[in-house]
């Protein structure tokens, strides 16, 4: 496959995938269970989900490893299985896509608050990310996506671990910002400007935002990033904040709505557009149709 960064540099717009959690729940994950434990028990489910997103037109497909760092897995006493959990997840997606999409190793927060604000040693967090990144490198990931980060220090530790343990693999870094009347901040108070500068300096290859408060806010977030960095941008938005309708959890943004906004994301300078909570294959298909230059590009 052509190098991912080369394609981005040539101005191509790529499409990411949608939510993982809902898909897992629909396929047997029980509430309260570790989602990543399915990487050990049901790799067939991971392959099926990857194929659904591939068929929908995703160019980059994430692994089920959001909580796959040993520190995070420790809350399920699965920390020792971390290497296997991460390797299995990559292997499943590699098998499903067989060269038709990039496999992106997903890395989420460790779930602890770092010193001096919390009680977790930054060294322990770094070592935990090192194990996950090493597994990504060994199992043949095309790209790594460190996502939903709210603490810039934790993000930088994960990025450093990726650069050390998975050298040569491009790293995408996405933080989650809340829209406030005073601008965009992560819950830890990180601004887009601060994140953009720090991540570019630390060697991120692609940067941007995921999850969040709906895709319209993501357009503003992307514009703000563009002011502060020349790096390729990635946006993986949720389908708005969930609402309850007749006792059902509903994400309000339809595939058509998100697709119409995707064009504005492209205008704002975004190179990779995908989904987060509440998005599924239908959203990804609609986004793909909106941003891809010709129907032949669809898989």
């Amino acid at each position: 496959m052509i190098d991912l960064l080369e394609r981005l540099r040539s101005g191509e717009i790529l499409v990411g995938d949608g939510a993982m959690g809902t898909m897992l729940f629909e396929r047997g994950l029980k509430s309260g269970e570790c989602p990543e434990a399915m990487n050990l028990s049901r790799p067939d489910v991971l392959e099926e989900i990857a194929r659904l997103y591939l068929d929908a037109g995703a160019d980059i497909i994430q692994t089920n490893t959001f909580g796959g760092s040993p520190l995070k897995l420790a809350s399920y006493s699965l920390e020792d299985a971390a290497p296997q959990i991460n390797r299995n997840a990559v292997a499943a997606v590699l098998k499903a896509v067989s060269g038709r999409a990039y496999v992106s190793g997903s890395c989420g927060p460790c779930g602890k608050i770092l010193k001096p604000y919390g009680d977790t040693d930054p060294e322990a967090v770094y070592e935990s990310f090192e194990i996950q990144m090493q597994a990504f490198a060994e199992s043949g990931c095309d790209v790594i996506c460190i996502e939903t980060m709210m603490d810039l220090n934790e993000m930088l530790l994960a990025l450093k671990a990726a650069k050390e343990r998975a050298p040569g693999i491009p790293v995408m870094t996405t933080m989650t910002f809340d829209a406030t009347p005073k601008g965009f901040f992560t819950i830890m108070g990180v601004t887009i400007e601060k994140a953009a500068h720090a991540l570019e300096e630390a060697g991120a290859d692609v940067t941007g935002s995921n999850c969040g408060n709906g895709i319209e806010n993501m357009i503003r977030i992307a514009r703000e990033y563009r002011k502060h960095t020349a790096l390729p941008l990635i946006i993986q938005s949720n389908a708005g904040l969930p609402l309850i309708e007749n006792g059902e959890l509903i994400y309000p943004e339809s595939p058509e709505f998100m697709a119409s906004m995707a064009k504005e994301l492209v205008d704002a300078g975004v190179s990779i557009i995908g989904g987060c909570c509440g998005t599924g294959p239908a959203h990804i298909r609609a986004i793909k149709n909106a941003v891809s230059p010709s129907p032949e590009c669809q898989t």
């Binding site: 959690g21 729940f25 509430s31 309260g32 269970e33 989602p35 959001f66 909580g67 779930g111 608050i113 001096p116 604000y117 919390g118 406030t180 009347p181 005073k182 901040f185 992560t186 819950i187 830890m188 108070g189 904040l241 969930p242 609402l243 309850i244 006792g247 059902e248 959890l249």
Partner: protein, 213 residues
């Protein structure tokens, strides 16, 4: 009083050691513990809560202030108990089922502790019976529940129903929150209140207690 203002100010700045020294100083100067608590610590924490709500400060500042508050409370608690002054209120808190994002519940626990409440955090995946039995054993004033999944929200109703069966309803106030939870849902199941974020949860719990109780 100047010393209490200093306690408040240093607490707002998250200087836990300074707050501990000043609190000891205030105790030695025979300032009533309740006054140290209300006019020093809680006064400072209220400002922290307001600034957090207004997005002038963020979680790290709240965490440091809460740590300073907790440190000073360790010094004050024995005195408050000796004088028979109840802690501001006791809250049993937990997520009704394990979910992937428990930061909301943890944040509410931190903010409540910081605001001077005694918080019993039952963690994640808490069965309805556990909320009720703990509230009973601990003579709690408030039960706080978080759910992030629609599939687990019915546990909230179960807790309310159990509270009714066990004669706790009305005596123990029940507050609910979490992404899929709404004010309408809280009303529907008979919870006392719904909160949309951490700062609002503290305000709501405070509203359960008459001023200076």
């Amino acid at each position: 009083m100047e010393l209490l203002d200093q306690i408040s100010l240093n607490l707002q700045n998250g200087l836990d050691e300074k707050v501990a020294v000043l609190t000891k100083d205030a105790i030695e100067k025979q300032i009533p513990p309740k006054e140290i608590l209300n006019s020093g610590l809680i006064a400072g924490m209220n400002i922290v809560g307001r600034k957090f709500k207004d997005h002038d400060i963020f979680l790290p500042d709240v965490l440091l202030a809460a740590r300073a508050m907790n440190g000073a409370m360790e010094l004050l608690k024995p005195l408050l108990i000796k004088e028979g002054i109840p802690i501001r209120g006791k809250v049993v808190i937990g997520s009704v089922k394990n979910d992937l994002h428990d930061i909301g519940k943890n944040l509410v626990a931190i903010l409540l502790k910081g605001a001077g409440f005694e918080v019993i955090d039952l963690g994640n995946d808490v069965p309805a019976e556990k909320f009720i039995s703990t509230a009973k054993e601990e003579n709690a004033h408030v039960i706080g529940m978080s759910a992030l999944l629609t599939t687990t929200m019915p546990v909230m109703k179960k807790v309310v129903d159990l509270a009714k069966d066990e004669g706790l309803y009305g005596r123990v106030r029940i507050i609910v929150g979490g992404a899929p939870v709404s004010k309408e849902y809280a009303l529907e199941i008979g919870a006392d209140a719904y909160s949309y974020d951490g700062a609002n949860a503290v305000e709501t719990v405070e509203s359960f207690f008459p001023v200076n109780s």
